[in-house]
């Protein structure tokens, strides 16, 4: 073929290739850092307009989840109404994660309330995807009402059953959420059937690119301090640490 020249490895060309490697890796690192920053950022807090779950309950984990979800959903609504779209979107995603876990861990009237919450939040997200923030606000109001019912129902709810030992392995690597719905780490393992404990990794550098862990710290908590979301082959598997941590 005419006009084709052979590429020879001169020092200048080696320098350009090294520059390309550095540029590519730096760009990927910046993108990964920004993504981790976004997923682990705290949800802006506002005073919840609705009632909150009482401190004394037969299901303290569900009460903590419901309280956290109420505050997160209220934050989404308040920020949406005040025009702070980024804060609203961030809170709405956090609320959606919490609501999905709640739906998985409840039964009876509480489950009914959580299903209504999940449906309202899903519709609110679709409203935003179609450029309709007013309709999203209406849905978040509906979600708030459903959560008020959930808050009442938590008083008579029973604690969810812990997952059986046969499925413990399926929670390895599950994204760990704080009570406000932000990602705070990952589940490493569940061990000791006689007195089940959960090994967690807490830190903002957990799950970079889906599999890399940078920094953070390990901790162990009793199994009943975690609410377990839906196990999935593909997609996010969530678990909520219902006690606060300095993570």
């Amino acid at each position: 073929m005419s006009g084709i020249k052979t590429v020879t490895a001169t020092p200048a060309k080696i320098g350009v290739v090294i520059t390309m490697w550095v540029l590519g890796l730096v760009l990927l690192a910046l993108f990964a850092w920004a993504t981790q920053w976004r997923t682990t950022a705290s949800v802006p807090t506002v005073q919840s307009a609705g009632s909150t779950a009482p401190a004394s309950t037969a299901a303290p984990g569900l009460a903590a989840l419901t309280t956290g979800l109420q505050q997160t959903a209220a934050s989404a609504l308040a920020n949406l109404r005040s025009g702070h779209r980024s804060d609203a979107s961030h809170a709405l995603d956090a609320a959606y994660r919490l609501a999905q876990v709640g739906q998985e861990n409840t039964s009876g009237p509480l489950k009914t309330a959580y299903v209504a919450t999940v449906n309202a939040i899903e519709t609110a997200r679709e409203n935003l995807w179609n450029g309709n923030p007013d309709a999203a606000g209406t849905q978040l109001t509906t979600a708030g009402q459903a959560l008020d019912q959930a808050s009442s129902a938590t008083q008579t709810a029973t604690s969810p059953e812990a997952p059986p030992q046969q499925v413990w392995g399926q929670y390895q690597g599950a994204q760990l959420l704080g009570p406000d719905g932000q990602v705070i780490g990952a589940v490493e393992a569940i061990e000791n059937p006689a007195d089940p404990t959960v090994h967690l990794h807490l830190g903002k550098g957990t799950g970079v690119f889906g599999f890399i862990t940078l920094g953070g710290r390990n901790t162990t908590v009793p199994l009943d301090q975690i609410l377990w979301g839906r196990r999935q082959i593909l997609g996010n598997v969530y678990a909520v640490l219902t006690t606060r941590t300095d993570g």
Binding site: M20, L27, L92, P133, F209
Partner: protein, 240 residues
């Protein structure tokens, strides 16, 4: 939290529908133009430009005129005259050369990335699963179809063509997916919440933005790729 709410128009019908109407009409016109008027365009470029115009709309059309279509090419006599006019135009400066290299990349990657994104959103996979899936599909489509076709002009040996295609695409894709990922992982979630479904305006508005950011970020990488001789731009021969 950084304020990105001003980008919410990318999920609104008044913007997305006209934008893609222009994109579709422009892509159809570019196909016709590339096969009937601007015939010196290489085959891979004939495939890539309509994809770029589809997703970049008016910006894509402007790039096509500024970098790939020599003024007055329709009035040039025969194919040789057109080729001479085309080469004189596209090789005149680094901007046109580099844009040609980026178009190869983003056109091929883009159709793969968007296809993978549609499938991933329907399957509701996690963010990182989606990102890796898009990377794989985009890289394979960009390499095996667009870069391979482009590199067939550079060698008669298919193993060497494959090597050159994978090598050229490798560096370019790093930058494209950093840009695309930034829009998917940060910009979209902080504007309209994460991972919109393909049947919403937001999906298409932010998909276009993601490809455009990928295009911008991979631009310096493609400049270097041409410098080192791993890729070539709009011209017909590799230049060092």
């Amino acid at each position: 939290m950084v304020g990105l709410g001003w980008l919410a128009f990318l999920a609104e019908a008044w913007f997305v529908i006209p934008y893609y109407v222009i994109g579709v009409a422009g892509a159809v016109w570019v196909v016709s133009d590339a096969y009937h008027v601007n015939t010196p365009l290489k085959t891979a470029m004939r495939w890539a430009w309509p994809i770029i115009v589809l997703f970049f709309g008016p910006v894509g059309l402007a790039l096509y005129f500024l970098t790939a279509r020599a003024p007055g090419i329709g009035a040039a006599g025969d194919e040789d005259a057109k080729m001479e006019k085309h080469n004189a135009y596209v090789r005149a400066n680094w901007f046109r050369q580099t844009t040609g290299a980026v178009i190869h990349c983003v056109g091929g990657d883009g159709i793969g990335i968007i296809t993978a994104m549609i499938l991933a959103r329907i399957a509701q996979v996690s963010f990182w699963q989606e990102w890796w899936f898009e990377y794989l599909v985009g890289y394979l489509m960009g390499t095996l179809i667009f870069q391979y076709k482009s590199m067939t002009m550079m060698s008669d040996s298919w193993p060497r063509i494959m090597w050159m295609a994978f090598r050229g695409e490798w560096f370019s894709m790093l930058a494209v997916m950093a840009g695309m990922g930034l829009v998917m992982g940060v910009v979209t979630p902080l504007t309209i919440t994460a991972q919109p479904y393909p049947w919403t305006y937001g999906f298409w508005g932010f998909a276009a933005l993601g490809l455009f950011v990928g295009f911008v970020i991979t631009y310096p990488m493609n400049y270097l790729l041409i410098k080192v001789g791993y890729k070539h731009g709009h011209g017909m021969e590799m230049e060092h």
